[in-house]
Amino acid sequence: MTRRWGGIGAHVVLVAAVLISVFPFVWTVVMATNTTTDIYHSPPKFTPGSHLLENVGNVLADIDFFGSMLNTLIVATVTTALVVFIDSLAAFAFAKFDFPGRRVLFGLLLVFMMLPLQLGTLPQFIIMSQIGWVGTLQALVPPALANAFGIFWMRQYISGGVPDELLDAARIDGCGFFRQYWNVAVPLMRPALSFLSIYAFVNSWNDYIWPLIVLTDPSRLTLQVALAQLNVGHNTDYSMVMAGVLLATVPMVAVFALFARGFIAGATEGALRG
């Protein structure tokens, strides 16, 4: 009997936590679909209204929303594709081959994984201005490619997920290093590759500091920087701002909802095997 009530108690606490966790999404919808006057009204309106299109229209008039979304999409796609390829290839070499310097190189990577990224931000900016990339979208890609976590995580996965016997068999059949990677390892790495893709994509999509620093041209911003600009000013039209937040958040939450299971399983694997 007490077990049963204890179980119900657990559900009550968990449901309360879930409500807190999803409340901002719900309230964003409420704010984005009402007028600012409705929200400022006392007591405030707690139900969704019918002003979404009007608010979205204001967002589009205020910032180049779709332009910056396209910028973000391009950068995130290119970054993700490169990160997944570079990291999985290097991780394959680290996981399955012994070569001189392997341990030192991998150790170096682990040490640098611990360093705060901001340590290098200033020189990265100087490099970008030296090669004339400040203000361009391609400036966003290279710093994101030095993703030590990706290699570390992929190596963990490949060690266990790609059997040595298969690679040996492929070797006997005459497959060289790159064919072993492409024809044997890559198909077996699917779950890990999809986790790394989502991880890299979400990171790139949500990045703020670096784009804020390096994108100087107001007509060429990424979504997060453009979004932050909506918040400027003393008389903020919160309905409009929240409509922008809604537009920017929905795609990511949708992607997450689609891949949530694999993503969460992947995220914990890296943490636990470390």
Binding site: G7, P24, I86, L119, I264, A271
Partner: protein
């Protein structure tokens, strides 16, 4: 290095030069014969060297220079650091960062542990709870910060509206120096509790159920079992989350930048009285708004040393708990 085969037990110098060494393993290959492996890891290390390794050392070099990015660099030795230790704004930013870090990390890790234990204990809806509690972590800090700015708005925000309904006057969340930090910490807690919960939950699932079964037979109640068995077995994972939270939590930048960075009424960053000015925000202000590259580099390096000290202190604290 590679183990020496038994047949080579004689010292090498006494061995006649041309005798082939009988050995099961293939002859040692030169470094160059591994070119495929080096080629495979080279894209990463190239980017890594140019955009991570070099910048880190270059910023250390910059910390000893005076440079605005345009004119010539001048070497000033430890001058930047001498200025830094006497700079009240720097110390204020360090204080702000530490307060925000403690205010967010303690409830985050504690809440994550409780939620993980609860999710682990229930039989139904496990998957749903995991996903619903993790979802804050995939939203962007910018979106969440804007949301918090709206909800904690001094005049018309939802929080003050609800407090108004029960007769509590409007609270100046975004102007009071302490409440500014509380709001930033709440935001970080909201974002990171689910993430840490997922990690704890995975740790809990790795504990074999027989251990708890045995404890129950020996008469341990759920609370004793939690403190006597679950917590000690989770210790390595708790250590991991403490280190990650220290590294992440001390790097708060976007939250105060979005909340207070663009305040037209205030020339300096971090909100009224710079109560929300974190060290990274101060670094951003000095390096990129005031173009004081040398000082910016000094700030970020001093800050890095602080992170190391705190990680080591935290590590020690959690490790000491193990011996008891």
């Amino acid at each position: 290095m590679a183990s020496v085969p038994a047949t080579r037990s004689r010292p090498a110098r006494f061995r006649p030069r041309r005798t082939p060494v009988p050995s099961a393993r293939p002859p040692r290959r030169g470094v160059l014969s591994y070119w495929r492996q080096y080629l495979a890891i080279s894209p990463f290390y190239l980017v890594f060297a140019v955009f991570s390794l070099f910048p880190v050392f270059f910023s250390l070099f910059l910390a000893f220079q005076r440079w605005d990015g345009l004119s010539d660099m001048t070497f000033v030795g430890l001058q930047q650091f001498q200025f830094l230790v006497k700079d009240p704004v720097f110390w204020q930013s360090v204080g702000n960062t530490l307060v925000i870090w403690v205010l967010s990390t303690v409830p985050t890790l504690f809440g994550a542990l409780v939620l993980a234990a609860l999710v682990h204990s229930v039989r139904r809806f496990k998957g749903f709870y995991r996903i619903a509690l993790f979802v804050p972590n995939v939203t962007s800090i910018v979106a969440v910060s804007i949301f918090f700015a709206a909800v904690f708005s001094n005049n018309f925000g939802l929080v003050n509206a609800i407090l108004g309904l029960v007769g509590i006057g409007p609270i100046a969340w975004l102007t009071n120096p302490w409440l500014i930090k509380v709001v930033i910490a709440l935001l970080m807690t909201w974002m990171w509790t689910g993430y840490n919960m997922i990690i704890y939950l995975a740790g809990l699932q790795a504990i074999p159920p027989e251990v708890h079964e045995a404890a129950r037979i020996d008469g341990a109640g759920p609370v004793r079992a939690f403190f006597g068995i679950t917590l000690p077995m989770l210790r390595p994972i708790i250590l991991f989350t403490v280190v990650i939270s220290t590294i992440n939590g001390l790097q708060s930048f976007s939250e105060p930048q979005v909340l207070f960075g663009t305040n037209a009424a205030n020339a300096s960053l971090g909100g009224p009285g710079q109560a929300g000015l974190t060290t990274l925000l101060y670094f951003y202000q000095e390096a990129f708004m005031n173009n004081d590259y040398g000082y910016g580099a000094a700030i970020v390096w001093a800050f890095f040393l602080l992170i190391i000290v705190l990680v080591v202190v935290n590590w020690r604290l959690v490790q000491r708990g193990r011996k008891e």
